[in-house]
Amino acid sequence: MRVNFTVNGRKQEADDVWEGESLLYVLRERMGLPGSKNACEQGECGSCTVRLDGVPVCSCLVAAGQVEGREVVTVEGLADYANNRSCAGSSCGTTLQEAQGWSAEGTDSQTGEGTELAPIQQAFIDAGAVQCGFCTPGLLVAADEMLERNPNPSDADIREALSGNLCRCTGYEKIMDAVRLAAARQSEPEGV
């Protein structure tokens, strides 16, 4: 079958998709977007978390056909997505219309130096929240969505929001630090 959907602000068309293929498979193997990771294929680990019409989902549990006509944001588009988010006072969030109004931009830098990052991405690097990094894309998408809803989360809020994302390397402490850091930077005035 053919599936038409929007990925990171760009219209995409996937051909010859099997009925049994997941959104994760289509992203990784057909769209050339392997940033979303496959670690359990049963919705337990959260490594494949993407936004589907703004809602964080395990893309391994979404059948490809279900995304017809819908909006997907992956870790590859997270920086642009977060940086285009309109945020006035406490009413943060991205409408579908807003999401359709921008496109992810590629980067030429192989090492990633100079790449513009979302605040949560920078915070993960700065706080030492990345070790092997396999859980990182899913955690970033989930954490970014939580900060969008709840800019000043308590520790218990952070733990609850990220409880669907397994990490085996860090013991989660530096991930907590990273989310706290991103929240603090978000609440600082511009330029700090």
Binding site: W18, T111, T115, V130, F134, L166
Partner: protein, 799 residues
Amino acid sequence: MADTRTTGIPFNVTQGSHTKGGIGESTLRPDGTLKVTGEFAYSSDMWHEDMLWGQILRSTVAHAEIVSIDTGEALATPGVYAVLTYDDLPTDVKNYGLEIQDTPVLAHGKVRHHGEPVALVAADHPETARRAAAKIKVEYRELPVITDEASATAPDAILVHEGRDDHHSGHVPHPNVVHRQPIVRGDAAAAAERADVIVTGDYTFGMQDQAFLGPESGLAVPAEDGGVDLYVATQWLHSDLKQIAPVLGLPEDKVRMTLAGVGGAFGGREDLSMQIHACLLALRTGKPVKIVYNRFESFFGHVHRHPAKLHYEHGATKDGRITHMKCRIVLDGGAYASASPAVVGNASSLSVGPYVIDDVDIEAVALYTNNPPCGAMRGFGAVQACFAYEAQMDKLADALGMDRVEFRQLNAMEQGTIMPTGQPVDSPAPVAELLRRIKAMPLPPERQWESSEGSDVRQLPGGLSNTTHGEGVVRGVGYAVGIKNVGFSEGFDDYSTARVRMEVINGEPVATVHTAMAEVGQGGVTVHAQIARTELGVAQVTIHPADTQVGSAGSTSASRQTYVTGGAVKNACELVREKVLEIGRRKMGSYHPSWATAELLLESGKVVTDGGEVLADLVDVLEGEAVEVEEEWRHRPTEPFDLRTGQGNGHVQYSFAAHRAVVEVDTELGLVKVIELACAQDVGKALNPLSVIGQIQGGTLQGMGIAVMEEIVVDPVTAKVRNPSFTDYLLPTILDTPTIPVDVLELADEHAPYGLRGIGEAPTLSSTPAVLAAIRNATGLELNRTPVRPEHLTGTASA
């Protein structure tokens, strides 16, 4: 090398001149940006435009003769390019193994454990490959299963491996024992006579899975010269190579291996998984073949932590001195040897823990059974022992009416203590100090779930299940300390190799570090760049991908890489520096007398004297010249343990950590919430403090996992794995995880580069017994097995 149609090939990563930080600074990861943008290519992300997908058919039973294999229907499936069985193996070498080559590449006439590889399929879509594999008809004639020591060593026991002729077969008491290591020192029986109290215990340690998140995977690309390029996630490229090449019938230089992105390891990638299978399919079909395990297969595709039964006896005098220790440790190695012999060596030699005990009688064995193969996992034999001896320490202290921490401190080893192997501990061993520090940390407040806004169920046992608001919840506190060896032991030639190049690029001096070290997430690449900056005075450092075009780095195991490959990088940098200074003397020696007389350093892009006087810019010295050195580096040699007495200077270095666990237990439902798991560890020298703390916290949580939730459950009747998924094998989530405050001590080991101590494993040891001690403290239960489940706390366990 593979053509440009392969995507995901690792490339040089350069930390530019804006990156600061030599050793001792919390420099950020060079691959951090790639990892947060999704651009970092893991082995499962490798892709080639006309690649095939490989699939492995695994045995559905644990122990059986293979009567027949019919591949006809699978081969006839549209989209299938090849189906291979044992009969298709190209050479006489059909087994592999880390130490004993007992593991069949594909089963030959017999399977010895549930999930053993039987046949391979390559097809143009992973689902086609899976369905075709399911069409292969294998007829099994089931055999009785060997599942424990009694069935393994019964007089009429079936031999898991007939006709053993490996180097351990001559000294083991039974062919179903992989290796046995006794250690006898002093006279434990006589010392027991002096004891005022004697405590004994029988302990059971469950089978833990490494559960790295990045599944086993890789891409094999056939090359025009008849060889193969293999991109794979592993812990030791050169060990893989040595095992792969003979099976393929290729010289090692025609199997070109490159480390693809590794999503965690923790010991689970020491053994081969899909490497040979992908190469066989690629060479057979002439097409690139990718294999990616799913989580179900991953549970069968790597070895696990040995489950263990441990019997301990300790005695002590009234004044609190330990008189003696006797123990017997039985490790279940499963169907194939993997790292079992070395795990036995660790379990026996570290079985006394970090204590002074002169009279010991120790025996450790690993069994061959039909259970899943077990091998390396973080802590490697020392973990199981620590769980048992720390329970014993609490029992002894209680029997004497002493404080549990003070009792440990009284008996704590220190620099100069003689190990039961006769080896003196010749670097700092601050065991008592670590315990003091951990005890001195402030305790989390009582009833921490309460605040001015009411009680937060998320901070209570049962969490969002809302099972209690504090009723029936009891707090407990427990302490534990452990000892782990660093590096490969028992006489192994544990070296590493580094190639360092220094040159001027775009008007700036640049160092390139090339090793075969497997970066599995630990941050070795960060540390290598820091070492190069410290030793060579450069700002810009390029890390070359790890591959087999440079000499072996040894394994990313045994807490050894910062010590050994870090040591190799430091050594290579020092040799490069000497050559750079030679060039400087040749070009500029006549300009300043200090070139000939002073101790010279490279700092901030300049040649300086030890007094700080600048002699030259590195750019001018290196103008038109590049310096490159590749050199092996070794730590102090070790010796094997005597097979009868266990005596020998077997270990390189020791690593110590202590934990204090604070738990809250809902005694009615048997639910445990670990509130805080504090750790104090001596790291010798923290080359990167941020990464050190990350390692300690990660190791601590893996220790907590086996205390309260993680266990591979093997059916005792069929030897089949009951819970091969993340739904049924429970890993700690961020909600299960306590705060993990860390206190880092830095007492230099003069034998090690920069005084550092390997750190990765020690925190995994004492975490588990600390949590168990805290649960015992809360509940008053004996709890001699780990993990602890609700039924163990409510008296409803069946066995």
